[in-house]
């Protein structure tokens, strides 16, 4: 079979979104590597320009195009691949593949679907077929009724008895699903589910059962293995993407483990998977009864986690099996000597914890349920459960120090908070234990297996012992070694120890004191390898973690100062995701190429940088000061790179520098001078660079005086922020005062900065690399939206098409000044405001920014490679080419996941809300805009468009676009003010009414009846949205899956694009064809 495959098409998953994130960059990259190894020519379709898989050399041809049947067929027509891989790009690729198969496209072009046959995929995706299929082999499923309309759904629920769960068929990550306790709730949820899928499933809820997953692999010779099993800490009822997950299972006996394993193999054989699939079970905590929840006939988030948890490269192996190999043909990629046909034995425990960013959204429902809301995840490895979970709770990066010694949570009703899980539940458990709740009580309320609770209680008991000791002692040097060791084995950080014993004074000093003391008594972590075989065979790879449960290191350190340590970017979150993974990987590649030993520290299982093949040593561990120092003590590296992993490593720069760590590139002091707004502004004043008026505020009087001078609105933010965490625009006194209270919670060490907010200004970005203060390469890009939309949410155009030459000149000059003043060596990014030719600097980061992969790929100059060379002290030449030479345009557009975030107001502001992005290239702005907007899920509307265009200024902004729509033959519907404005300007439209108004047609009603194909709703101002008319319209559009745009400039750009060209005008060109 494998010999006649010469060219293979792989479908990517597009922009990162909730339920479909970086894990598919990892699986796609692995698959491409597997194909490349076979000498097969590879073609990739993925508009996500920030991914590693869309980097040069990973695939032979890369198309930055939407993964939709239309575009994929066009590419197939052009490229004529022999085979196609559908299971490496998540639900997006799978759905697209199934659609193409049904349309007969693969058959038409003679393209073979490699791996799992499409019929098998359909058998698992269609609930009814799935149940029937498993019935054939006597495997129990959760019986559900497939309903085509809401009456059927109501009847089914009544028959099954409440509570029931509702699911939309063919939806990723549980989209449009949820629990209903009564008919009222069912009505609401079912309507939403039907908007995503013509088929909705109603089934009996098994709340409280255990949830267990198996990752299963099968080759075409019918050989099967289960690579890993995983158990959810949270019982059934919480989506597995929202659960804390433990691998391997902890509470299953041998007979239970193997009963489910045997079933998983029976299922994969019967369905006929060739490659990998995931089987999810509900498991009765009181017997060996079970139900199969679902089977994912593709690589999934769980399979990426399983790969990282075990060291078994599932995607790589699945790709090889798709080519026709048997498992017996392949080698274990860790030992390189033993067979790939085996099941990993772990000698550690792995804990996955989701990362939520619900705080970023106005009005969002914080309760966790059967639909996914988390935006990222972390994986912690330890040799005790306590160690793994405490590591993990620090890794999620939400200011927590572990299970204990955190800032006290304010909870009015602990019982309720335990019963109704939110993103904070684990901390509620901690609070409950501190308050004296017993394990039995907590179990009763949460249904979490008591074993997990016992383990958490161990942590609490150690904490109490430390507190007790602290109450009676002052001298740290008297802390019993046994107690300290016990705490460290249970994953206590030095900070936690210091706080628990009641350290008086600065906590930074406390951390250092504990560190020094424990080192003096010989309590240091050891390094262990993840080797897939629990030390039975020697490992050839260095996939490592640190633990206190051990006495010896697996690694023999040479102390040759040949290592370069790159600090990774941690959990994906809003504002920091796959783009920093790309940066990290490029840095590793360059380090290797230049003859150094590349070392990565990171803990995000969804990334390529945590693939042990990407570097010489991978420490899958925390990016805290303590752990990084532990590793540096062992590695003795030549130096450390902190500028390619986003804000987490950047924030460590000063403290590492304080310990005499060699930070490569720009000095820590310069980083601090740029990060500390106070120092940075003073510097700008000194070199005569303009900036919005600002003030560092420590008292309310200062604030009032400042605002007297500049007037509202003002932008308020603390120092050291990424993605505008706790940053807000305040339009009046009341907002300001409320916000300052919130902001004060976030950062104590640095003063809050208030700056003048300039409206209707353009935002321009400078991404660059400098060496010894001189710029080597740069890229200037402009935002489509006016300032006020966070740069991570904005639509970005590169090269800029509408900047004055003078503006560009000034930006270059200012950037040169700043680079010189801070003596930058490495990557940096500056954000500017431009109104007319008046340029102000908003922010400067002496690290790679979110747009580095985008500009690098559009310009075809690898900025990180250049920057890494600079940081290694190697000579670099200024590239010949610059942005004015490009005959094409790149557009970076943002992906939002509001459909996942129930009740959140889908409106954009200075706080970032997007979960991902795409970058597309076109001959002109319209072409690139159209590709990129289609890539993030917009559709070209068919006929009816609803407009409510906000304040007067925005109404004017939208006028041309409205005219274009009319000319193109669209029917315009508009709310009161907008309707009047349009009519006055001679544009025919139909007035519709707000929910608060009497009269017909009602806007909401039209949305529910699916009479509207696109909604443009521009909020009037930037204040926090309460439950207004606008919110109801926006939310309805999201819930009913109707494209929504909330920014006038973006709406205009999109409308102009689809009015001036059709989808057929879009050229199907690969990346390398843009020259």
């Amino acid at each position: 079979m494998k010999e006649n495959i010469k060219k293979v098409l792989l479908l990517g998953s597009g922009a990162l979104k909730i339920g479909e994130a970086g894990e598919f960059d990892y699986s796609g990259s692995q698959a491409l590597k597997a194909l490349k190894e076979e000498g097969i020519e590879t073609v990739l379709i993925n508009p996500n320009i920030a991914t590693v898989q869309t980097s040069e050399g990973v695939a032979d041809k890369i198309y930055f195009l939407p993964v939709t049947p239309y575009f994929v067929e066009k590419v197939i027509d052009k490229e004529r691949p022999d085979g196609v891989l559908l299971s490496f790009g998540g639900q997006t690729a799978l759905n697209c593949g199934v659609a193409l198969y049904k349309e007969g496209v693969f058959e038409k072009y003679g393209t073979r679907v490699l791996g799992t046959p499409v019929q098998a995929i359909m058998d698992t995706e269609d609930r009814e077929l799935f149940v029937k299929k498993l019935d054939e082999i006597d495997v129990k499923t959760i019986k559900s009724e497939a309903c085509e309309n809401i009456e059927q759904a109501r009847r089914a629920a009544k028959d099954l008895g409440y509570p029931v769960i509702i699911r939309a068929a063919y939806a990723l990550g549980g989209l449009g699903s949820g629990f209903c306790d009564n008919e009222e709730e069912l009505n609401v949820l079912a309507e939403k589910a039907f908007s995503f899928s013509p088929q909705v499933l109603v089934e009996k809820s098994l709340k409280g059962w255990k949830e267990v997953e198996y990752e299963v692999v099968r080759d075409r010779f019918d050989n099967c293995i289960t690579v890993c099993n995983m158990e959810n800490f949270d019982p059934l009822g919480i989506h597995t993407g929202e659960s804390i997950v433990i691998a391997p299972s902890q509470t299953l006996t041998n007979s239970e483990y193997h009963k489910l394993r045997e079933l998983a193999i029976r299922i994969i054989r019967h369905i006929g998977i060739v490659g990998e699939c995931n089987v999810q079970y509900a498991f009765d905590p009181e017997s060996e009864d079970y139900r199969v929840i679902e089977v994912n006939a593709r690589l999934s988030r769980s399979s990426a986690l399983a790969s990282k948890a075990t060291g078994y490269p599932l995607a790589f192996v699945a790709a090889k099996l798709g080519l026709g190999y048997g498992l017996f043909d392949l080698k274990n990629s860790v030992t390189k000597t033993t067979s790939a046909f085996f099941e990993p034995a772990l000698d550690y425990v792995v804990c996955k914890i989701p990362r939520w960013d619900l705080g970023k959204f106005h009005g969002v429902d914080r309760e966790l349920g059967s639909s996914m809301k988390s935006v990222g995840e972390v994986m912690a490895i330890g040799r005790t459960f306590e160690e793994a979970i405490q590591k993990g709770l620090r890794m999620i990066g939400q200011g927590m120090h572990g299970f204990v010694e955190n800032k006290e949570l304010v909870i009015s009703d602990i019982d309720k908070a335990l019963r109704e899980p939110t993103d904070k539940r684990i901390f509620v458990i901690s609070k409950a234990m501190r308050a004296g709740y017993t394990v039995d009580q907590i179990h009763e309320l949460t249904k979490i297996d008591k074993w997990f609770l016992y383990k958490l209680e161990n942590i609490m008991e150690t904490s109490k012992e430390l507190h007790e000791w602290g109450n009676n002692h002052i001298q740290l040097s008297e802390l019993p070694k046994e107690l300290l060791y016990q705490a460290k084995r249970q994953g206590f950080s030095d900070f936690q120890v210091a706080r628990a014993i009641g350290w008086q004074g600065d906590m930074e000093d406390g951390i250092l004191a504990v560190r020094q003391y424990r080192k003096s008594v010989g309590i240091v972590p050891v390094v262990k390898q993840i080797d897939t075989l629990a030390a039975e065979y020697p490992a050839q790879t260095n996939y490592l973690y640190l633990t206190y449960s051990g006495t010896a290191n697996d690694i023999h350190y040479l102390g040759d100062h040949k290592s370069i340590v790159v600090l990774g970017s941690g959990a994906y979150r809003i504002g920091s995701s796959v783009e920093f993974d790309w940066c990290g990987v490029q840095a590793l590649n360059t380090i290797r190429k230049e003859g150094y030993r590349s070392v990565m520290i990171n803990y995000n299982p969804e990334t390529v940088s945590t693939d042990y093949d990407m570097c010489d040593r991978l420490y899958f561990d925390e990016l805290t000061f303590e752990r990084v120092m532990d590793i540096l003590d062992l590695e003795n590296p030549h130096g450390v790179i902190v500028s390619t992993g986003g804000q987490i490593p950047n924030n460590l720069a000063m403290r590492l520098d304080g310990q005499k760590v060699n930070i490569l590139g720009t000095s820590a002091k310069s980083i601090d001078n740029a990060e500390d707004r106070d120092k940075f502004s003073a510097m700008l004043d000194r070199i005569g660079v303009d900036q919005p008026e600002w003030s560092a505020l420590t008292s309310m009087d200062d604030i009032n005086a400042f605002i007297q001078k500049v007037g509202f609105p003002v932008l308020v933010r603390p120092s050291y922020v990424l993605s505008g965490a706790a940053m807000n625009v305040c339009s009046n006194q009341e907002e300001l005062e409320r916000f300052l209270q919130l902001a004060a919670n976030v950062s104590k060490k640095h003063p809050v900065v208030v700056s003048q907010f300039i409206e209707h200004a353009k935002e321009v970005e400078m991404d660059a690399v400098a060496q010894n203060g001189e710029i080597v390469a740069y890229a200037i890009s402009e935002h489509i939206e006016f300032a006020g939309v966070h740069s991570g949410d904005a639509t970005i155009q590169f090269p800029p098409q509408k900047l004055y030459v003078e503006t560009v000149r000034r930006i270059k000059r200012i950037s040169r000044q700043i680079a010189k003043e801070l003596n930058i060596s490495g990557p940096f990014n500056i954000q500017f405001l431009a109104r007319d030719n008046d340029i102000k600097v908003i922010e400067c980061n002496l690290r790679a920014s979110r747009s580095f992969p985008f500009v690098s790929k559009v310009l075809k100059i690898n900025f990180i490679e250049l920057a890494t060379k600079v940081m290694l002290g190697l000579p670099v030449e200024k590239p010949e080419k610059n942005l004015f030479d490009l005959d094409y345009v790149g557009i970076k557009a943002s992906q939002f996941s509001f459909n996942r975030l129930q009740k959140a107001d889908p409106v954009l502001g200075v706080d970032m809300a997007s979960t991902g992005e795409v970058g597309c290239i076109g001959e002109d702005t319209s072409c690139a805009i159209l590709k990129s907007m289609l890539s993030v899920g917009y559709r070209i509307p068919e006929k009816n468009i609803l407009l409510s265009t906000g304040a007067a200024r925005q109404k004017v902004d939208m006028l041309q676009a409205a005219k274009a729509l009319k000319k193109k033959g669209y029917n315009l519907y508009a709310t009161g003010g907008t309707s009047k404005f349009l009519t006055e300007n001679g544009i025919e439209n139909t007035r519709v009414y707000w929910p608060s108004e009497e009269g017909h047609p009602q806007a909401l009603e039209m949305l529910h009846k699916k009479e509207i194909d696109m909604v443009v709703n521009i909020p009037r101002d930037l204040s926090v949205g309460e439950l207004t008319n606008g919110y109801k319209i926006r939310r309805a559009a999201i819930d009913l899956n109707i494209p929504l745009i909330t920014n006038a400039r973006l709406a205009s750009a999109f409308i102009n694009a689809f009015c001036s060209m059709t989808i057929d005008d879009i050229a199907i060109k690969s990346w390398d064809e843009y020259k």
Partner: protein, 382 residues
């Protein structure tokens, strides 16, 4: 918990704490990489004489099921009537457990059966030492009595562990029933008694070298009568339809009596024979092959084997320290399974006669159940 030290023959020392029965102990230190199944492993007679190190660090999580017995005398959840391992060595013992079917903690069970258990050991490092050096004798001593804790260590290979763990009587199982006979019962009398137990069922004679209960359960499930005899009992002359040779502890070279009896039985070329683990080694020896000791054995749930000459591969449960030397198989014999990791023998078959065996454990318990079909094949032959 008292501090203990594990001292290996090469002088390596590992410190930990005692959580089981408090007595010093010595034995062959081996490692097992399975992630579940400590009740099954501890009661597996093949671990007799060994200090069992579990590489999976978290142990004791789901407690211990009740030590109950079925009507036919077989334990309900365990693999024999008691713990056979000399001690258990873990990294992180779970003092508190939770499972609906548990009645006591692992610590309580160990104490009840007077078996030491130690925790807090760097089991990964210990495993690496064993991997590099090969399995070694070792002893667990209590730090506060390290002086008078001198233990004499017998050499594992010198002891006939099979004799220690094998049954002493003849036990006949049929369905839910069982009957016991003395080994001194004359064969004619036995034969007539056996038919009375259940005359319709085919009879499998099981040579008990330390048989795991699940082997008997697997046979009974397939509707045969099992006649379990002591390892050195000369069963020739009894009426039976198939011969089964069980697993067992120790060095197969100490079991010559069994080999002689098997050879005698092989004079009937039509008699189906099936062996597991030690049974594979004894059948091989009966066929003329030689056995050697593996450096550190196979003890895990994830050993891949391939059926020779096919594309069929299986994940198997294993527990053995000795292996059959493929090169010494007689011309009438051929390897049936090969270990995909190290190429060692995992089973043999006779080229003409219905004789075959597996080095791994098709009965699982604990471990994967992929190869249970071998029992079907055997029962089909008789």
């Amino acid at each position: 918990m008292r501090n203990v030290t594990l001292i290996l023959d090469d002088g390596s020392r590992f410190s930990g704490k005692s959580f089981g029965y408090e007595k010093p102990v010595a034995g062959e230190v081996v490692f097992n990489t399975a992630m579940t199944g400590y009740p099954e492993s501890l009661t597996d007679p093949s671990y007799a004489g060994q200090l069992m190190t579990l590489t999976y660090p978290l142990v004791g999580n789901y407690g211990v099921p009740p030590f109950t017995f079925a009507e036919n005398g077989l334990p309900t959840f365990m693999e024999s009537e008691k713990i056979h391992a000399e001690a258990i060595i873990v990294s992180d013992y779970s003092e508190r457990y939770n499972h609906w079917n548990a009645v006591e903690s692992l610590a309580d069970w160990l104490k009840r059966e007077q078996v030491p258990g130690i925790t807090g050991i760097d089991t990964r490092e210990l495993t690496k030492v064993l991997r590099e050096h090969g399995v070694m004798m070792g002893k667990i001593v209590f730090d506060d009595e390290i002086e008078n804790g001198e233990l004499t260590i017998d050499n594992y290979g010198d002891i006939n562990y099979v004799d220690r763990v094998s049954c002493k009587d003849i036990i006949v199982y049929a369905g839910n029933e069982s009957r016991t006979f003395s080994v001194d019962t004359p064969k004619e009398e036995l034969n007539s008694q056996l038919s009375i137990v259940n005359c319709q069922l085919k009879k499998v004679l099981l040579v008990d070298c330390g048989v795991k209960a699940n082997i008997i359960r697997c046979l009974l499930k397939r509707n045969v009568e099992v006649i379990r005899v002591p390892w050195d009992y000369d069963f020739n002359g009894l009426d039976f339809d198939g011969l089964f040779i069980s697993n067992g502890p120790g060095d197969p070279d100490t079991c010559d009596a069994a080999v002689q009896n098997i050879r005698k039985a092989m004079q009937n070329e039509k008699l189906p024979i099936f062996g597991i683990c030690m049974g594979n080694q004894l059948l091989s020896k009966a066929g003329g092959a030689k056995i050697y000791k593996l450096k550190y054995g196979h003890r895990s749930h994830n050993q891949p084997v391939r059926m020779v000459g096919t594309e069929r591969c299986f994940i198997t449960s294993q527990n053995h320290g000795y292996a059959v030397d493929n090169n010494t198989l007689g011309t009438d014999w051929e390897p049936l399974f090969i270990n995909m990791n190290d190429g060692s023998n995992e089973g043999i078959r006779h080229k003409r006669n219905p004789w075959f065996s597996a080095q791994f454990h098709p009965e699982a318990a604990s471990g994967p159940t992929d190869t249970e079909f071998l029992f079907d094949e055997f029962v089909k032959l008789i």
